[in-house]
């Protein structure tokens, strides 16, 4: 894996292709909300622990999210403090103090390494994929909807996604991220022990995501989410040109 960036999450409600017998849009919308699809904006802390080639590394990020953009600032360890990753739509920018300009990283360049993990965390299903209901399937003793998502943009990192959502809870249990040929590249499993208060109601919110490399299952990354809060961030925060300021 190329790096160990893990970034915040997902997603937007957007437009989806509906399955004829299952209300695809409604199901995916609900699950997305439990992973951060809040229009007003969110922030949280992500602790990332990676095992790569039997080596452990840990990092901590402070994530600010709004409207499919993510501003991720490195907090720990100290030598990486101040580094910023800006997920603007599908593109990623890297910046650190002292550089004359930020560096863009395209979707395909993200595929190698942990940038791919960050991309999993920030995948925008609504905007980038067309969803189709496939069948019902049991995962971890839970009956789940299996949706197949196909990329409808040229520059997405993953061309296809298999996505399992629990019928009972409406929470996404698992996702497999595939290449154009359908070859598995990465897989992710989710758990939701956090609670988020939104418009007077409490919603389950993701607390952990485990991402595994399909080619080498020993290479794993775990994102732990804490302190999720609704926060209305200014739009200017997500402007690439403001990174230098």
């Amino acid at each position: 894996m190329f790096s160990k960036i893990f970034v915040s999450l997902i997603l937007l409600s957007g437009s989806f292709v509906f399955a004829s017998t299952v209300d695809t849009k409604k199901i995916i919308e609900y699950s997305d909300r439990t992973r951060g699809a809040i229009p007003e904006g969110l922030e949280w802390i992500v602790k990332l622990n990676s095992v790569e080639e039997e080596e452990n590394t840990s990092r901590e990020f402070f994530v600010k999210y709004k409207s499919n953009d993510s501003y991720v600032e490195s907090k720990a360890p100290a030598k990486f403090e101040g580094e910023v990753f800006l997920f603007k739509g599908r593109s990623l920018w890297f910046f650190k103090k002292g550089l004359r300009a930020p560096v863009s990283i395209s979707a395909r360049q993200k595929l190698s390494g942990a940038a791919a993990n960050g991309d999993i965390a920030s995948t925008n299903y609504a905007q980038d994929y067309t969803a189709t209901f496939v069948k019902m399937e049991t995962v971890n003793n839970e009956e789940c909807y299996l949706f197949h998502l196909k990329s409808n943009a040229d520059d997405t990192t993953y061309d296809q996604i298999d996505y399992w959502i629990s019928k009972k809870t409406g929470l996404a249990i698992k996702a497999n991220f595939l290449s154009l040929q359908g070859k598995p590249l990465k897989s992710a499993v989710f758990s939701y022990k956090n609670q988020l208060k939104y418009k007077g109601k409490q919603y389950p919110f993701i607390n952990e995501m485990k991402i595994t490399d399909a080619k080498n299952p020993n290479n794993q990354s775990t994102l732990n989410y804490s302190n999720p809060k609704i926060k209305n961030h200014p739009v200017s925060l997500f402007n690439v040109n403001n990174l230098k300021r």
């Binding site: 790096s3 030598k79 890297f94 004359r100 560096v103 863009s104 360049q109 390494g113 690439v240 040109n241």
Partner: protein
């Protein structure tokens, strides 16, 4: 008169036929030599490009597995400081054999102009590489003019504080970086770039700075500014879209390491490479089971050179075969006609006491003389043709090359000599056996046929 003299006089029997046959052989031989001279030139140029410009050296030391995994897992497949110390100790007794011994760091990452990022493949080298390699005799002889640039036009004229970088012409075009860095004062002021605006392209093209992004050895992304001090070419078009080169210190700083990817060795006597393969390599392998000594003709380090060289060898072999067959058929034709025309004379010679063997050698001598003279003139034509081609100033783009190179022919004396002897021998054998077969006719019939 001796038998050779008799053979020569027989060639003059039908001067027109002898000249035409001789010309056919001479022209075919010229073509073969000139082609081989071209192939020789190309092979040497490719070899020198690989050794000196693509930094294969005459041999390199790497960690085993570096070719397969060195780019994706550089930390695991680099030579750390302990490796470097141990290698230094091992090679100390052979110091006099080396023209130059130098480390190289190679890595991948992204190079950005502030708006757009492209992948790069970087080579970090000590400055001495650029100053010393142009002095190597074989470099002087074989490297094309483009590569014989003044070392001062490279990063050696800049300090580490200038973050000097060389970028290939192609990559520079792709990044829209037209100017080169002179000093810190020459840098335009840093400002926010609105990448969406067309008018910003002008600003970008006048700013020689770029950003390099890579995965550091200590984990995480690492990034640095760098300044384009000059443009260059690596000689191969497929590398010219991604290659950059800078001081070793720049790369080690970017990747946050003191390790190196390879240790490169240049021999004072390139011909001693076989000695190194046969005598020193076994010692090295015994001492360093986890390291590998890779010679420049290994396809892993010089894929283009080895692939091209073996293709050219095959092509040369094919040409030699064609030339050999052509010469043989020409001789067979000429000889057959000659024998048929002189059947009465053959009978007379038999009557005079010449054996079949002696007659066969008589005709063999004629063909040898004809072939030798033809080959001799062919060799002269080859020299003249090579001279004319080299003086013509013609240029061409070889497959895979990144630009024009002069069309040159470098005749090989050994090839001339060996092919000369081989064809002469071939002709002698063919003539002897063909004549023996054809004159095995009853003598009285030969005499009666007149």
């Amino acid at each position: 008169m001796e038998l050779w003299s008799l053979a020569f006089k027989n060639l003059l029997r039908n001067p027109r036929r002898s000249i035409v046959t001789g010309l056919a052989i001479a022209i075919g031989y010229t073509g073969l030599n000139v082609f081989n001279g071209y192939v020789h030139q190309v092979e040497r140029t490719l070899a020198i490009t690989s050794i000196y410009l693509n930094h294969a050296g005459h041999f390199s030391i790497i960690k085993k597995g570096w070719f397969e995994k060195g780019l994706s897992k550089p930390r695991l497949f680099s030579l750390d400081q302990q490796d470097q110390t141990e290698l230094s100790d091992f090679f100390r007794p052979y110091e006099n054999d080396f023209f130059l011994k130098t480390p190289i760091f190679t890595g991948i990452g992204l190079i950005s102009n502030g708006c757009r990022s492209l992948p790069f493949y970087i080579k970090g080298l000590e400055r001495i590489y650029r100053t010393e390699t142009p002095k190597a005799p074989e470099f002087i002889k074989w490297a094309v003019l483009e590569f014989k640039r003044d070392p001062k036009e490279t990063y050696i004229s800049f300090n580490d504080d200038d973050f000097p970088l060389m970028v290939t012409y192609n990559l520079s075009q792709l990044l829209n970086k037209k100017v080169t860095y002179k000093n810190a004062a020459s840098l335009p002021p840093s400002r926010i770039i609105d990448c969406q605006k067309e008018s910003e392209k002008e600003y970008l093209s006048k700013d020689p700075s770029v950003q390099l992004l890579a995965k550091s050895f200590s984990g995480g992304f690492a990034a640095t500014d760098a300044n384009i001090v000059s443009h260059y070419t690596v000689g191969f078009s497929f590398l010219d879209d991604i290659s950059i080169e800078g001081p070793l210190s720049l790369t080690q700083k970017l990747y946050d390491t003191q390790s190196i990817s390879r240790l490169i060795f240049f021999l004072k006597n390139p011909n001693s490479i076989n000695h190194w393969k046969s005598k020193i390599l076994p010692l090295f392998e015994k001492r360093f089971p986890k390291l590998e000594m890779v010679f420049f003709d290994d396809p892993r380090i010089s894929p283009f050179y080895t692939g091209s060289a073996s293709f050219l060898d095959s092509l040369t072999f094919l040409f030699i075969l064609i030339a050999g067959i052509s010469i043989t058929l020409t001789i067979i034709n000429s000889l057959t006609i000659s024998i048929l025309e002189r059947s009465k004379e053959i009978g007379t010679f038999r009557a005079l006491g010449f054996t079949n063997n002696q007659l066969a050698w008589l005709f063999g001598r004629e063909m040898i003389l004809l072939t030798s003279l033809s080959l001799f003139f062919g060799a002269l034509f080859s020299v003249m043709t090579a001279f004319l081609i080299n003086a013509s100033g013609l240029e061409y783009i070889p497959p895979g090359a990144s630009g024009n190179i002069p069309l040159r022919v470098s005749l090989e004396p050994q090839f001339l000599f060996i092919s000369f002897c081989s064809f002469a021998l071939l002709v002698l054998i063919v003539s002897y056996f063909l004549t023996k077969k054809r004159i095995s006719v009853n003598t009285s019939r030969l005499l009666a046929d007149s």
